[in-house]
């Protein structure tokens, strides 16, 4: 009996102990679950706040991106104003210009999981702007976007996230760099044009021939008996300029081979590039001129021998006219050469400035600094990695569902070591394309370009080939990499027409100059006296990705 009572006591003890243990465990688990739930809820609310903050900043970035190059936007001009020390270009784009109005983010917080979340209107500001070296109007800078999001899940604790995102941007000329934008033509070494000394030698030969031809005409005039023939001779003498006057109109060409050559042209003014190698053109003309003067000399002998022979006099007049006209045409070539080109010899005060600016602003380093995009040749990378394929993809990158072939604007540096980049057909937009050692071929580029499109095509150290109508400013400059210097070369098809400008800083030599150069002043970026030119010649490129993002948990 005693043993049974002991058994009952044991069961009571056991039950009591179990209840106590279970109660303790249950309480602990409840506490633990509650703590974990609160913690998870807060953590999730934080993650969702962060996600919403990213969305808010992305929409702000979107609005800035579509406005920076839109002339009607309130931030268009402020981002193009000159920034000079001590001004660091810092400004708020939201407080001052009210450029961001979020609609999609507002819609997000009205529905679904974000209903319990709120965001603060984002701020967008330019943190700083710094000029590229000596160019106060071309610069780079940093944009800062910031917002704050608060939210909770269910009845959980609310989380706060303050997010900042920083983006780089560049404001650059979409035309040739200053001061070359105001020139139709620039050659860094006059010797690249022609053999200057030889040209002057040929000029003197032609002047001598002109003098001889005019002398012969004077002798025929003096010998002619009074009457119609004499009167006609006198008219011819009056109309033909004397040799001294011709020499003054077509003076000697400066012979400094290192002189810079520029020009001041009217828009649409053109110059036959065949005439650029003037020494060769004059040399070609001399045998013809000599034959014409020889023929005139023979006609003079016959006219003098038979002064009453009307036919002999008329033949003399015709021979004189032909010889003088032919030589004057060549002298006119020299006159036109002087009109088109302005020589800046070493002694000129502006020489050093041109020398320095050509090296600084038309060379590789400048283009690398201002480029929005860099394409790199990858020889082993397959067809997709070829330079041409990369280029084709790049200019179509702005294509979207509504506009399959939209304009593309920007500065592109193409690091092609061996593959030639070919630009042909219509390139819609404003572009600066810089090819390197692999060379550049321009073939009927923008033949129907309107005033809105522009192209600056630069070839550094490679072969530049031109064919057909090329609506572009064409630049051929050396490629410098440390001590290594690679000179560019130029090959032109005979029918080539360049509508824009031509810049050859130094060393660029054409196998033969052909075609026509026609100046288009749409590439002129405006007056420089106030630091920056016309705003619509500047383009703002914003980096595709943020430099960094900062998240503060509150």
């Amino acid at each position: 009996m005693r043993r049974n009572r002991d058994g009952i006591g044991f069961l009571v003890w056991l039950s009591a102990a179990l209840i106590v243990v279970l109660a303790v465990i249950g309480f602990h688990q409840r506490q633990f679950t509650s703590h974990v739930t609160a913690s998870v809820s807060r953590s999730l609310a934080g993650e969702l706040s962060l996600s919403l903050a990213h969305s808010v900043l992305e929409e702000a970035m979107h609005q800035v991106r579509v406005q920076v190059n839109e002339p009607s936007s309130p931030i268009y001009l402020p981002l193009r104003r000159p920034v000079e020390k001590p001004d660091d270009g810092a400004m708020s784009l939201t407080k001052k210009f009210d450029c961001v109005h979020l609609t999609e983010s507002s819609r997000l917080v009205q529905q679904g999981i974000f209903r319990q979340f709120r965001f603060k209107d984002p701020t967008v500001e330019v943190v700083y702007q710094r000029p590229f070296d000596d160019l106060p109007d071309e610069r780079f800078g940093l944009l800062r976007y910031a917002t704050r999001v608060t939210g909770a899940i269910g009845s959980g604790e609310s989380a706060v996230r303050e997010v900042e995102a920083f983006q780089e941007f560049r404001t650059v000329l979409i035309t040739p760099p200053r001061p070359f934008d105001e020139l139709p033509f620039y050659i860094g070494r006059a010797s690249a044009l022609t053999d200057l000394a030889q040209a002057n030698l040929h000029r003197r030969t032609l002047l001598d021939l002109y003098g001889r031809a005019r002398n012969a005409l004077k002798r025929a005039t003096d010998a002619a008996p009074p009457g119609t023939a004499k009167s006609n001779y006198e008219n011819m003498m009056e109309q033909s300029k004397d040799p001294a006057s011709v020499a003054t109109s077509a003076p000697e060409i400066p012979e400094d081979p290192n002189a810079h050559v520029t020009g001041i042209w009217h828009s649409s003014q053109s110059f036959s590039l065949d005439s650029m190698d003037i020494a060769r053109r004059l040399q070609d003309a001399i045998p013809k001129a000599e034959r014409a003067v020889q023929a005139q000399s023979q006609a003079l002998d016959r006219a003098l021998a038979a002064s009453g022979d009307v036919g002999a006099q008329e033949r003399m007049m015709a021979a004189s006219s032909e010889a003088l006209t032919l030589i004057l045409q060549e002298m006119l070539r020299i006159w036109g050469f002087h009109l088109a080109f302005q020589f800046i010899p070493r002694a000129a005060p502006e020489y050093d400035a041109y020398e320095q600016k050509a090296q600084l602003r038309l060379g590789y380093e400048h283009w690398r600094k201002i480029a929005f995009f860099v394409l790199k040749e990858d020889k082993g990378g397959g067809p997709e990695k070829r330079i041409q394929a990369q280029w084709d993809r790049l200019i179509k990158r702005a294509a979207n569902l509504n506009v399959p072939d939209p304009p593309f604007n920007g500065v592109v540096l193409v690091e092609n070591e061996s593959e030639t980049l070919v630009l042909r057909g219509n390139l819609v937009g404003k572009m600066v394309v810089v090819a390197t050692r692999g060379g550049l071929r321009l073939e009927n580029v923008n033949p129907n370009a309107d005033n809105d499109d522009s192209l600056v095509a630069v070839c550094l150290g490679g072969a530049l080939e031109l064919a057909g109508t090329v609506n572009a400013v064409v630049v051929a400059a050396p490629y410098r990499l440390g001590e290594m210097v690679m000179e560019p070369s130029i090959r032109m098809q005979p029918e080539t027409v360049i509508r824009g400008g031509l810049f050859l800083p130094e060393g660029a030599l054409a196998t033969e100059w052909h075609g026509l150069l026609e100046y288009d002043d749409k590439y002129y970026g405006g007056p420089t006296r106030r630091g920056a030119g016309w705003p619509d010649h500047y383009y703002v490129g914003i980096a595709p990705r943020t430099v960094f993002r900062k998240v503060a948990r509150k």
Binding site: R30, S51, S55, L401, P406, P407, D536, A543
Partner: protein, 151 residues
């Protein structure tokens, strides 16, 4: 005086062992455990959703902005598994020009303890700005002049 078959210490140890053995069973059948399982699934769904969004952002940025549609069917595996989540992802432009994009992920799942017909769901949205917006557009030269600056 007869002795009990077990000492008090033995009783306590045995009780503790029994209680410990019962903890999982208590958890399984309690409503708190269902909450835990739900929370766990809810957190996982967020993790899946946010990961899918980040992945599609990379896809759009690297391979170009083209509409994306992806789906994943649940496989109804026993116990807790990522395969039990069904989701679909849709990335599309929200403005006319296609410069602002929205990525939406819809997820749904069932817990092993859910009665037939009960389903949990979650939607996550994210906006993404297309970088190309600032590299396009066509504007005539000299249309806009800085006031006070002569052309």
């Amino acid at each position: 005086m007869s002795r009990s078959a077990f000492s008090l210490l033995e009783v306590l140890v045995a009780t503790l062992l029994v209680a410990l053995a019962m903890v999982p069973l208590i958890g399984l059948f309690s409503s708190g455990a269902r909450e835990v399982a739900f929370d766990e699934a809810y957190v996982t769904a967020h993790g899946i959703g946010l990961t899918l969004i980040e992945r599609s952002i990379e896809e759009l940025m690297v391979h170009g902005f083209k509409p994306l549609k992806q789906e994943h069917s649940a496989e109804a595996k026993a116990g807790f598994s990522i395969d039990n989540f069904r989701w679909n992802l849709d990335a599309h432009p929200v403005d006319g020009a296609g410069w602002l994009w929205q990525i939406r992920v819809n997820l749904d799942w069932r817990l092993p303890t859910d009665p037939q017909g009960v389903k949990h769901s979650l939607s996550l949205d994210r906006l993404l700005s297309r970088p190309d917006a600032c590299f396009t557009g066509k504007h005539a030269y000299r249309r806009i002049m800085d006031p006070g600056r002569s052309p």
